[in-house]
Each structure stands twice: as C-alpha cells, then as structure tokens.
C-alpha cells in the first residue's frame, strides 16, 4: 500500500467516524419523530456517502454492509417499511457495527470484521418477511455485545467540540494536518480513565431486551408526516464559519498573550513614575486592548457542551431499554461553554450519573403509576454558569435517596458501626463511599458500587465538586460544579525566606497568626497547633522544603495556613502571605515533573516564576518521592 492510498484510507476513516455520529443523532431524532422526511433524507445521504467512499478507497467490507444498510433505508424512505422502535434499534446496531469496523480499521488497515449476522437481519427486513411483524429478539450473540461495548466506548470519547462536518457528499477528505490533530485527540483518549468500560466488560451475556412493549405506543408513521420546519434540527449548520486550529498553536498563543500582559504591567508601572501625558494615555489604552486580547485568547479553548449532551440521549435510550423502563431526557444549556480539557474529562462521570439516574433514580413504570406519576420518567440535564463556575445538573423525578436505608445498608456492609449516628446529609453522602450500592439486585447497568466514588474522584481531580439534593418520592439532583478552566486558579502567594510560592486558594481553609500558647512542641509528636480545641499537626514550610536550619527564616511572626482538603487536616507555617491573585498554571518540564509536591508553576507579576505547592503531597514523608 503506498502512502497516497494509506492517506486516503485514513482520511476516509476519520470522515466516517464523523458521519456515524451524525447518523446516530438522526436515528434518535427519527425515533422521537418517525415521519421526519428531512431526517430520513439525511440518513440516506450519509449511508450513501459511506458506501461510495468506502468502496472508492477499497474497504469492500464496509461497502458491502453499507450497501445493504442503504437498501433498507430506501425502504424506510419510500414508506414501505414503518419506522418502529425495533427498526431504530436495528439501525443503531448497524451504526455501531460500522463504527466498530471503522475502529478496527483504524487500528489495522487490513482488519476484517464479520458482519454476516447483521447482514442476514437486514436482508430479512429488506425482503419484507420481518418488516411488519414484531422484531425478532436479538439473539444472545457476539454482535449484540459488540454493539453495547461500542456504545460504551463511544460514550467515553471526549467531545472534540468541532462543528458538524462532512455530512454531505463531495466534501473533501480532511487535510493531513487535520488528521494529525484528530490523531492527537484520539491518542489522548487512550489515556483517559475508563470506568464505564470496565463495568461493561463483565457484562458479556447482555441480551438486548425485546423492545416490543414500546412498539404499541408508537404512532403509525404514515400519518405523522410533518412539515420540514416542524422537525427538530439535529445538527443545525453553524452560522459562524469556523476553522480548525491545532491545540499546540493555541497554547502558544495563550502563552504569548500571558507574557504580553506581564510586559504591559511593567510598562504601566514605569510610566507612572515619569513620561509624558501622551505616553501614559497610550499605555492605558494599550492596557484595555491587552485585557481584551487575553480574554479572547482564553475563550479559544472553550467549547460548547452540545455534543456531550447529545451523546447522553443515546445513553438514556439504551440504558432505559435495557432496564425496561421509560425515560425521557431533556437538556438545557447545550450552548454553555467550558474548557476543552475539562470537557474531555467530564464525559465519563456524566455517563455514570445519567446511567445511575435511569437505574437507581427512576422507578419501574408500575411503581411510578402507583405513586401518581407519569409512566415515563424524566431525566434533566441542565448546564449553566454561576459565579465563575460551571454547574451541570443531572436531575431525575424518581424515588429519591432514602438516607435511613443507606445507613442500614452501610451497617450491614460493615462500613459503619451499628451505633453510628449520622446527619441526613452525611447519610446521603454514603453513596460516594467506595464499594457501596443500595440496590437489592445488581443489574447490568449499575449496582456494583463502582460508580459514584469514581465519579466523585474524577470530578475532584478537575478541582470540582458534586452536591446531592434529594427528596424521597420526588427525585434527586446531582450538581456537578466545575471550574471553567484548569489553566487558571485562584492562588495565595506566600513568602518563605526569600522565595515565593503559590498555594491554590481552594486548598486553604483559613489562615491565622498563632501566639506562643497555641503551639505545643513535643519530641515524639513534633509540633501541634491548638485551634479551637482541635489539635492539628503543624509543619514549617522551610523544613518541608528541606532547607537547613541556618537558611531558615528569622521571621518572628509567622502565619499558619490550615489545610483541610486532605483526608487529615494540618497546618503549615509560612513567613508571610503576600496576597491572593489569579495565576495561569504553567507546566514544568518533564525533568522535574516527578516532583509530586509541585503541581506546576506560575509566573508572578514581576515576571519571575513561582512554584505551585501541593501541600498534601509535601507533608507526606513519601510525598516528596516519585510515584
């Protein structure tokens, strides 16, 4: 295979992935609106496009499969076969199958995947033998499992945030740079933690449930022909034109702008002490422009949540089908933007929360009716900005969390002592305890107790937090609060000797100036700080940093910072606190990244770099070592 051919093939695979995501969205729209002509047309075009290009670059397996797929779609388009839930399920299965083929080919351009079983099912649908009957339940086969695994792996993909692209024929294949960019994105995927996948790997015997009960509810599609404008746009073409830029170039720009801001500050300070009126005026104006440039450059890393939210539709659909429940997902605030890195890492926890809401939150249809609720449960996904943070709410109108049952369960499992007294809030937080699950039966979807603690850890790794609000019988809301970007933190600049350090403000619980009576030293325990009846281990920053006694500062009055974010609280003495400021986190070179107590560096106002301290690592005797 020569380079040109290889490039063509790789180009096709990238394009195909995009087309398949588009197609998936279309299927889901079609499901909620079976007579939607334009959507059907779009799906047909996508399948046709896939068939044409795959044959052109020599992927005959995909060509053959998509040809069958297209024939089936043609029947739907001509109204010869009704669009039922079963049909949609089959279409989604086909979509997953093609995606699997594409993924396999991405690994190895010669890879081959057996499609005979799905081909047979498509054939029988096309020839009409099965078309009007309730669908044949999917046999317990490799394919159904592959489909599910695919779905899970797909759900963990981060959003690239790029707008919809290549949905129409004649679109040129992505350029080489784009491909490299995509490859980068893909490579980074492999490093992501993937708890969702772990869960499903054990579920080899999942059978896709027969969706028949739902079929009866579907309106006959023939009478549902709607006007095109009434249909919900799946992926409305972006009004704004856009351009793809590699992330590394963006980073460079952001770095340069940061430097510009620092230089501007120096210039302004200089002009204060002298210089003409015109100079000062110009510098003042330049300051405004610089600020604006900085804001714009920071916003370049921001991408909307839309694609992540769209993927959740599929998660809800498949999860509820698997559980034989009826769940509708509504989303709000798809346009809310957040940092690309945060977005990539929030997808997994969100999938967990959504699946959890479908499984544990929403009750069975019978129970819902009994409780006077509508049969179909509602899960709401809502994103908004609040005081400089991003909030994502996952809300269900299910049964709520029973605190007493949690406590009882925790005692049974030996997590709590039998006489433990917990507040309601503490009881509900038990769901985040590792190895905890209240569901009587372990289901395929969740209930193994490997979800919520992972969710919490993942979100905290992003400097975020999870809150739970629940009312018995009414429902539960999980609030995920995230920083808008990981690139900037609020820092406290502290002085020790002649050096300055930055401590993330979120890590500092309080600061105080202890008097002599507050500190007790003993040979065995070291120093302790007595704080309102609490004994906190007290460390001195200079000693933590390994400075010798002679270098130790002679500052008389030191300040104690109380750190409580760690599992055990402690206090650290520093010489002085210089102030609080927002700092841009700068990565340090790989040669010193092994130092775990140093979470990065920041350039302070005078242009000198300072170390950002990870106090929790610094106080651990082994924390200064490497992982």
């Amino acid at each position: 295979m020569d380079d040109f051919e290889r490039e063509l093939k790789v180009g096709f695979l990238e394009e195909a992935s995009q087309l398949l995501s588009d197609a998936e969205q279309c299927f889901l729209v079609l499901e909620s609106n079976p007579g939607d002509g334009p959507t059907l047309d779009k799906i047909f075009r996508i399948a046709h496009n896939l068939k044409g290009s795959s044959k052109a670059v020599g992927f005959d397996d995909i060509g053959l499969f998509t040809h069958k797929w297209e024939s089936f779609l043609l029947k739907l388009k001509n109204g010869e076969t009704a669009v039922t839930v079963a049909v949609i399920s089959l279409l989604l299965l086909c979509n997953d199958h093609v995606r699997m083929m594409v993924d396999a080919l991405k690994q190895d351009l010669e890879a081959r995947v057996d499609s005979s079983e799905l081909l047979e099912r498509l054939d029988s649908m096309i020839s009409g033998t099965a078309s009007m009957e309730p669908p044949v339940p999917v046999p317990e086969s490799a394919h159904s499992f592959e489909g599910i695994e695919n779905l899970v792996s797909e759900s963990t993909e981060p959003e690239s945030g790029e707008d919809v692209h290549g949905a129409f024929e004649g679109e040129p294949p992505p350029s080489k740079e784009e491909l490299e960019l995509l490859k980068l994105v893909n490579d980074s995927l492999d490093d992501l933690p993937n708890p969702a996948l772990e869960v499903t790997k054990e579920e080899e015997n999942i059978v896709i449930p027969d969706p028949e009960p739902v079929v009866q509810e579907m309106p006959a599609p023939v009478f549902e022909l709607k006007r095109p404008e009434a249909s919900k746009p799946v992926s409305a073409p972006m009004q704004d034109e856009s351009i793809r830029v590699s992330l590394s170039r963006l980073e460079k720009l952001i770095n340069s702008v940061g430097e510009l801001v620092i230089l501007q500050t120096v210039l302004r300070e200089q002009s204060m002490s002298g210089g003409s009126h015109l100079l000062r005026k110009t510098i003042h104006q330049m300051g405004k422009v610089t600020k604006e440039v900085q804001d714009i450059s920071m916003s370049l890393r921001m991408v909307p949540l839309r694609q992540t939210f769209q993927k959740m539709q599929r998660i809800v659909r498949d999860t509820s089908n698997m559980l034989d429940k009826r769940v509708a997902l509504s989303t709000q605030g798809d346009d809310t933007e957040l940092d690309k890195t945060v977005l990539e890492n929030i997808s997994d926890p969100l999938v967990h929360l959504i699946r959890n809401a479908c499984d544990h939150g929403i009750e069975r249809p019978e129970a819902r009716v009994k409780a006077g609720k509508r049969e179909t449960g509602n899960v709401m996904l809502n994103a908004y900005h609040q005081s400089g943070k991003l909030v994502i709410e996952v809300k269900d109108d299910g049964g709520g969390i029973d605190g007493d049952r949690l406590v009882q369960k925790a005692i049974e499992k030996g997590i709590l002592k039998p006489d433990a007294k917990l507040t309601r809030e503490q009881a509900i937080h038990l769901i985040f305890h590792p190895g905890f699950s209240t569901k009587a039966q372990v289901t395929e979807v969740s209930g193994r107790g490997v979800g919520m603690d992972v969710v919490k850890t993942n979100i905290e790794a992003l400097q975020g937090e999870v809150l739970v609000e629940t009312e018995l019988g009414k429902g539960t809301t999980f609030k995920v609060i995230l920083p808008l970007t990981l690139a900037i933190i609020d820092g406290m600049v502290v002085k020790n000797g002649n050096s300055r350090f930055v401590v993330p403000l979120s890590h500092v619980h309080e600061t105080l100036r202890p008097t002599g009576n507050d500190i007790h030293a003993s040979t065995g325990m070291g120093e302790m700080l007595l704080l309102r009846g609490e004994n906190l281990p007290l460390f001195r920053l200079s000693r933590l940093l390994g400075q010798k006694k002679s270098e130790e500062s002679q500052a008389r009055e030191q300040i104690a910072m109380v750190i409580r974010y760690a599992s055990r609280p402690f206090a650290v003495m520093v010489d002085d606190i210089l102030g609080q400021q927002q700092v841009v986190i700068k990565e340090v070179g790989p040669e010193i990244r092994a130092l775990r107590w140093m979470s990065g560096s920041a350039i302070l106002g005078d242009g000198k770099p300072a170390i950002i301290l990870e106090m929790n690592e610094l106080v651990k005797p082994e924390g200064r070592g490497v992982a």
């Binding site: 940061g258 000693r543 010193i592 092994a594 130092l595 560096s601 490497v626």
Partner: protein, 165 residues
C-alpha cells in the same frame, strides 16, 4: 538528535562554548537561542546543578548548570550565558561560561572519542574535534543532562525524604 551520525552529515554545524578553560560544542540544530543569565527560582529536592526554573517569554523552563554537572571549575571572569536547547520539544536552559563560535567541521576532522578506561561516564561525548591546538568535545545534551537528571532527582528525593522526616 542525530549527533551520533556526525560523520555521515557532510557539514553539520555546532555551537561551541567554554566551561572554565575547556571548550565544548553542541549541535546547532538543538539550540533555540542564547540569552544572558536570567533570574531563576530555585526548586528544592533537586541536584545542585539544577539551578531552578526561569520564565522564557511565558514558558517556564528548567535551568541547569553544565559546569557543575561536568564538574568543571567556572571561569569567574566569564559573563555566564544560557543556551536554550530544544530537546525533542522540551526546552532546557544550559548555563555555560561563554558562547564562542559556530563550527562547521569537515567530517574527517572529527574523531570518535578515544576509548579511555575511566570510572566516569563519557557516553555523552559524541566526538572530538581538534581545531588549531585546541581540543573541542562534542556533547549530546540529552545524554549529558536529561536522562540522567531524572534519576538524579529521584535519588535526591529519597535521601531528602530521610533528612526531612
């Protein structure tokens, strides 16, 4: 870095610099720029030749003292210069006494390093160039600093931990 293939590249160019009274050279392609000694912030738990981190136009990079690393006595009268090297995407500032000139030696003037039985590791020396009456040693920066440093930092941390505890 390709420095091992110097005999194959017809005219590879090198930047020569002084450490004390000795002269060394690194491939010019690995040099990003040469700057005056900047202000830097020391980093605890690192080896003595690891001076700290500096701000290079918004990028934070490590500064290492090549003289201390190689155990050469610094020239007190020299101005002290930092060569910013690009080692496979990672920038590192290397402190030297002074930068001299750009060499483009004839391949046959560069000899492989003589086999010396020595307790000191010399694998970072890629060649020896005799110019006039002086001997110039060609260095592989990555070998002389980077790989070894990571180990050095780890070692240092372990001992540092004991002291601090």
């Amino acid at each position: 870095m390709g420095t091992n293939n110097i005999t194959m590249n017809a005219r590879e160019r090198f930047l020569s610099f002084s450490l004390g009274s000795e002269e060394y050279a690194v491939p010019l392609l690995a040099v990003r720029e040469v700057i005056a000694m900047p202000e830097y912030t020391p980093v605890p738990y690192t080896p003595p030749y690891f001076l700290g981190i500096m701000n290079l136009r918004g990028q934070v990079i490590s500064v290492m003292d090549m003289r201390q690393k190689l155990g050469v006595k610094a020239d007190k009268n020299a101005e002290t210069t930092v060569i910013i090297c690009d080692l496979g995407g990672v920038s590192i500032g290397v402190v030297v006494d002074s930068v001299n000139t750009v060499l483009s030696p004839n391949p046959d003037e560069v000899a492989p390093k003589p086999e010396i039985q020595s307790s000191r590791a010399t694998d970072f020396i890629t060649g020896v160039y005799r110019k006039d009456k002086k001997l110039i040693l060609f260095l592989d920066i990555a070998k002389s600093l980077n790989l070894e440093d990571q180990n050095a930092i780890k070692r240092n941390q372990q001992t540092g931990t004991k002291n601090a505890a």
